[in-house]
């Protein structure tokens, strides 16, 4: 019983209109020190897998109940995708030399007319060890905000 209570104190519970009750380990929360454009009030998010075996994740803000983002690892859909990441773009992550920084990447997915597209113009870069993330907007025009997630086979 004491163990269960201890466990409770390490988890964070909140509600999301789209996903219901969310309970996450407190240290699994992702912090966006610079926020996400359009949602500057949201700084803390839970990142949860959608279902085992799918590459989809939910990025759920703690500060707002009415929104949630579908995100994917771009490796699964765009194997050649390689955005440029400058020191300035990564500045909100406060990368310090003496710490472990294993960076991960996700892209935000939109559904218009049932067709999912990924925003390759503004990938999310995650410092997994420090639990910080930033939306690294690409200044150049080589990446599209609406890249189809599933492309018609070219072969």
């Amino acid at each position: 019983m004491a163990e269960a209570e201890l466990k409770m104190s390490d988890t964070l519970s909140f509600t999301n209109h789209r996903l219901g009750e969310i309970e996450v380990e407190a240290d699994a929360i992702l912090n966006f020190p610079a926020g996400i454009l359009g949602f500057s009030e949201c700084r803390r998010f839970a990142l949860l897998p959608h279902r085992p075996g799918t590459p989809f994740f939910w990025l759920i803000p703690i500060e707002r109940e009415d929104i949630a983002f579908v995100v994917v690892n771009p490796e699964n859909f765009f194997p050649d995708y390689c955005p440029s990441l400058t020191q300035d773009q990564l500045a909100p992550l406060s990368l310090e030399n003496d710490k472990d920084h294993s960076l991960g990447m996700l892209v935000v997915v939109s559904f218009r007319d049932g067709k999912p597209t990924a925003n390759l113009r503004a990938p999310l870069i995650l410092d997994l060890a420090q639990r910080r993330a930033v939306q690294a907007v690409q200044i150049g025009k080589e990446f599209d905000t609406q890249s189809p997630l599933f492309q018609a086979p070219t072969k």
Partner: protein, 91 residues
């Protein structure tokens, strides 16, 4: 909105940490240099609006069931056994 007239090479300060320089004026184009703290994101407004709009569209997406339904529709016509999935995934 505060409006200031500046010549080429002149600058504007915003607070202690932001400096904006009119670095070049040529025809109807002005080149502007911006010195700001690294953690402050600086974009052309068009890009800022575009990313904001895309984020808003994404934030207003499907719920869990709708995403499932969508994935099922993609997973393929041949996989009739897929309906058993919800019963097995907890194991």
């Amino acid at each position: 909105m505060l409006t200031l007239s500046r010549r080429e090479g002149h600058a504007i300060r915003i607070g202690d940490s932001i400096r904006i320089v009119v670095s070049e004026i040529r025809g109807n184009t002005v080149r502007i240099g911006i010195e700001a703290p690294r953690e402050m994101q600086v974009f052309r407004e068009e890009l800022w609006i575009k990313i904001q709009e895309e984020n808003r569209a994404a934030a207003d997406g499907p719920d869990r069931d709708a995403l499932d339904a969508f994935l099922d529709s993609f997973v393929g016509s041949g996989d009739e056994g897929d309906h058993g999935r919800s019963g097995t995934e907890d194991e």
